[in-house]
Amino acid sequence: MPRVWKFGDAINTDDILPGKYAPFMVGEDKFHTYAFAHFRPDFAPNYRPGDILVCGKNIGLGSSREYAPEALRKLGLKAIIAKSYARIFYRNLVNLGIMPFEAPEVVDALQDGDEVELDFEQGLLRRGAETFRLRPPPAFLLEALKEGSILEYYRKYGRFPGESAEG
């Protein structure tokens, strides 16, 4: 069963993937193995695909490096639940097809190591007998996420979500 990896507030992109471990520095095939290398060295070796990141306020502040969330996606991350997101990071998540849920109450209720199940369609998170409801991201983002990623959306429609078909 997927487990929760819980982090605090203000986790920055240097925490998620230090700049010196960019794909540009260490190679496309290796960079994801350095996710949280300084901050939580046990993360990358023990993370299992489908595990969920649960974070506090302002997750992803700092650099615009898309390879930070990309490293997480490469490890198998599909969703984050946080109290709030930094702007560029939020866009990057949506663009990569990682679902950014914003739910402060749920963040407070979850503990590191909890075993949970996430129902994307319904926006429901289950822990044992408990069920938490997650508000879905705004409609225009869902439109993009439905196609898998913004790239796939653009390739299919030749326009941005929310933009009129003629425009």
């Binding site: 794909p23 898309e66 702007r87």
Partner: protein, 414 residues
Amino acid sequence: MYLTLAEKILSKRAGRAVRAGELVVVEVDQVMVVDSIAGSFFKRLEQLGATPRFPEKVSIVIDHVAPAANVEVAKAQKEIREWGNRHGCRVFDVGRGICHQVLVEERLALPGGIVLGSDSHSTTYGGIACFGSGMGATDIALAAASGRTWLRVPETVKVTFRGSLAPGTTAKDAALEMIRVLTADGATYMSIEMHLLDGAESLTRSQRLTLANLTVEAGAKCGLVVPSGEILELYAVPDWLYPDKGAVYAKEVEIDLASLTPRVSVPFYVDNVEEVAKVKGKKVDQVFVGTCTNGRLDDLHQVAEILKGRQVAPGVRMLIIPASSQVLEEATADGTLLTLLQAGATLGTPGCGPCMGRHQGVLAPGEVCVSTSNRNFRGRMGAADAEIYLASPRVAAATAIAGYITTPEELLGG
């Protein structure tokens, strides 16, 4: 309808009045790509099956690891040159300088324009009232492929700087004070609109770039300085490029420059800002002057003024990296460099240098660095526990001479 400066720029481009909260798709003037992101950018374009729609609107800058530090980087940079040639996009090669400085110098970023950069400090262009915003590789690739981008028109925080800078303080201190007041997420998704009044309008282009550079540290989408003073001399500023009186702001903040004191941002968060007096005496191993925040000619002048006829403390490494080849040339021509070198400083290739811990001045475990840059996150410049204190070039210079954190006034009297 009364509009903020961000709403003005986006409305002009959208061809209709747009307000905070609306989604818009707008044309962009430049798509700026840095070396470390270029590989992902190429890959995304390939996935899209697209090439740059307007090659002249794409600039790639080799600055984040310049010259190349290892074979991986050298291969990536070789690919950048070949790709640039093949597609007719500008490539600014090793030594030309830091992306943001280069785009301003080359007049590719202009007042009222829209520049998207694959680097979060693309807010810097706001110093000249250009809507600059950082995005990830995918957004940047989409902008190159389509010539456009989609954004939510941001709400605006209005920051008014009043008066002339107090003696011993700089635009960096003002910028750090702004981040302290707003906090690291105080302007998330927003535009920070900076008004310079009662003497503050005399801040130069360089100083305005410093202010705008730091705005992303409060989470801002863009940071726009209302044009005045030197900007009106350097550019033909369109007459619509001003916020309306009566524009609606999410928050308003005032910063009095006349009563400002030297500031320092203490590890490991940029908004952890204190008066220098609070950390005075902290021993340092390295002092770094440079970056898109404070690597310009006036910054080097301030450092030279303090270092002139003095020596960097034994055991301290002082690294100076001009922000661009133009800065390097000017600092050579006017003798500034000689002063710095005679004081015991050493010089790096124009570019980002050790700002993000990849080369040219990486910190060992336990080391302490005073840097004129903009981020002091854990492990940013090397070892996870190395400490980075962010400060002005003046404080950096005084610290280099003393060997511990101090101000020129404390150290030299006056």
